[in-house]
């Protein structure tokens, strides 16, 4: 059963389309990340669901109820904001109890204290209950914001870039905490982020947005391994892939790619599947993990242009004969220097070709 669904939802600001005909269906208890660059429509989607802005078209449902005309306070949701939005004139305790008291003025003190106590314990806020938000560190404020969202038992949690104001270390720790939290409470969580690593590590499914449109909705593995279009391929992944324009043709036992800035042959795994691409113009997406150093005769000659330390190993950029630049990871025990000449091989299973006009994926092998 879908817990949250959008059907044909659009939002327009003047001439700018913030969100175009969104169809999205999120299951009960699912952790969904809305991923995209700024202005892609992901935050618009979240605000529409929260009721902070009104949809121009389409229908939004939470549970069985159409909520288009329901005010935020009646939608039974909780939200964590990017800047936490803690009430500065209230202590941590007052911030935490606010959602309970705002809904029911006569709620019993014992109930409030019990609930605040439980949440404070879960998030390790026990010592901080009588402090004001300005007296807390960023990570502590973040926890209070999460706690305020958890204090009721809402149908849906909305998190708007909740970790982007934290430093890198803390972000990774909080990421794990949020994941553990989801496991513990089992509620539906919708999480907006522009950080693909966050989306990859946290979400059951990722919705990738660009230019106000949903590009792809699928599990992290699907999004990464089977990108629906060129944008998704480029946006997801730690390192930017190389995008090469050219045409494909089948030459005996190999597939030949020929373009203005790169030409090479690749081993042809299943020729039949790719036969229809013969002679077709494509854009080839080459991720770093598809590239490796090779000594075979078919290797693509290249020259190293840059080398970075990447954790225990290295990350290298190499220019091929016609000018394109490919990048790849190297193990810890290898050494390379700028200017070194070497051969590169492409591994099957990690390459995707896109239609240069429609940008849609044509084939992967």
């Amino acid at each position: 059963m879908a817990n949250v669904s959008f059907s044909g939802v659009s939002k327009v600001y003047g001439d700018a389309i913030a969100l175009a005909e969104l169809d999205l269906s999120i299951a009960q208890g699912e952790f969904v990340a809305l991923l995209g660059p700024s202005g892609s429509g992901k935050t618009t989607t979240l605000n529409l669901l929260a009721g902070l802005i009104d949809a121009d078209e389409g229908e939004i449902r939470i549970g069985d109820r159409v909520v288009n005309d329901v005010t935020p306070d009646k939608r039974d949701i909780a939200m964590v904001f990017q800047n936490y939005a803690l009430y500065p004139h209230m202590t941590v305790f007052e911030n935490l109890e606010f959602p309970l008291k705002a809904r029911d003025r006569n709620v019993a003190t014992a109930v409030v204290e019990n609930r605040v106590g439980t949440v404070a314990e879960t998030l390790g806020l026990g010592e901080l209950l009588h402090r004001y938000p300005r007296e807390l560190s960023g990570g502590q404020q973040q926890r209070v914001a999460l706690g305020r969202a958890m204090i009721r038992d809402p149908k849906v949690f909305l998190l708007d870039e909740p970790l982007s104001n934290l430093d890198a270390r803390l972000r990774i720790r909080m990421r794990r905490d949020i994941k553990a939290l989801h496991k513990a409470i089992g509620s539906t969580i919708i999480y907006v982020t522009h950080d693909q690593a966050e989306a990859m590590t946290l979400a059951d499914r990722i919705a990738v947005f660009a230019g106000g449109r949903l590009q792809q909705f699928g599990s992290p593995a699907e999004i990464y391994g089977r990108p629906a279009n060129k944008f998704v391929a480029g946006f997801v992944g730690e390192r930017e892939p190389a995008m090469l324009s050219g045409s494909l043709s089948v030459e005996g036992a190999s597939l030949r790619f020929a373009g203005p800035d790169a030409r090479f042959d690749m081993p042809l795994a299943s020729a039949r599947q790719l036969a229809h691409l013969g002679g077709r113009a494509v854009e080839l997406c080459v991720r770093p993990e598809a590239v490796s150093v090779s000594n075979s005769g078919a290797a693509i000659p290249a020259v190293i242009t840059d080398v970075e330390i990447d954790g225990p190993g290295l990350f290298a950029y190499a220019r091929v004969a016609d000018g394109a630049e490919l990048s790849f990871h190297l193990g810890a025990n290898q050494s390379l220097r700028v200017g070194d000449a070497l051969g590169l091989g492409l591994q099957g299973g990690r390459l995707t070709a896109f239609d240069p006009q429609t940008q849609l994926a044509l084939a992967r092998w």
Partner: protein, 285 residues
Amino acid sequence: MTPRRTAATWRSRRRSRRLGGLAIDLLIALFALAPIIWGLSTSLKPARDVLAYPPQLLPSQPTLEHYALLLRTGIHHFIVNSALVSVLTVVLSIVIGSLAAYALARLSFRGRSTLMFTTVALMSIPLPSVLVPTFMLMANIKMTNNLLGLAALYTAYQLPIVVWLLYGYFSSLPVELERAAMIDGCTRLQTLRRIVLPLSGPGLIAAGLFVLTFAWNDFVVAVVMMSSEDVKTLPVAIYGYLGFYGRDWGPLTAAAMVSIVPVILVFVAFQRYFLSGMTGGGVKG
């Protein structure tokens, strides 16, 4: 030049610059305070010394006889009138003004910018130009010689500036706080009361002081609207002392002193908030 001497030079330069600034401040203060000092001095002199030549700044025989006269002639009655009107005006202006300012700052509705522009434009109409028609209107609905009527008029005059001040203040608050409150279960009005207003203290105080000083000090409107003795406000009553026993400077200046004390006290009490309120929202989320 050694670094030590450089530092010493800088220190002495800074000191002389500070002294210069202090001298200018004193000059300005003296200029502004001179009438008040003269008034205070006159109010403490016996009647025969008031016009003595050369004038004495410090009365040789200080006396409270003028203040005693004020009490005998019932000045406290006018003080109460003024206080009632002022407090009522402040309450009305802040309640109506904050509702209007919040709507303009946060709700989107047709004609919002026109309304905003009209509100600002209203501030440029000189008060005396509408005084006669206003008097006719007030007389028609029998609201002249009525403290509530006067407070309503003051509220009408001061609302544009109150709305403008509070609009600026509300707009400067992080909108996420209000969004969070609405998601947490507040209606718009509850959000205003529980989140926006508590965070707008300095803005409310600045607007309140603005209105208070106007209502407390106003002479022109009050003298037109209030003719009967029992509803006169303090500024109108002070004008009355001018001709109490001929041209009597003593009671007049004593009454003036009485009228400025409450305003000064209020400003001293709230000056910290007043400054930060005028310079706009300093609340950080």
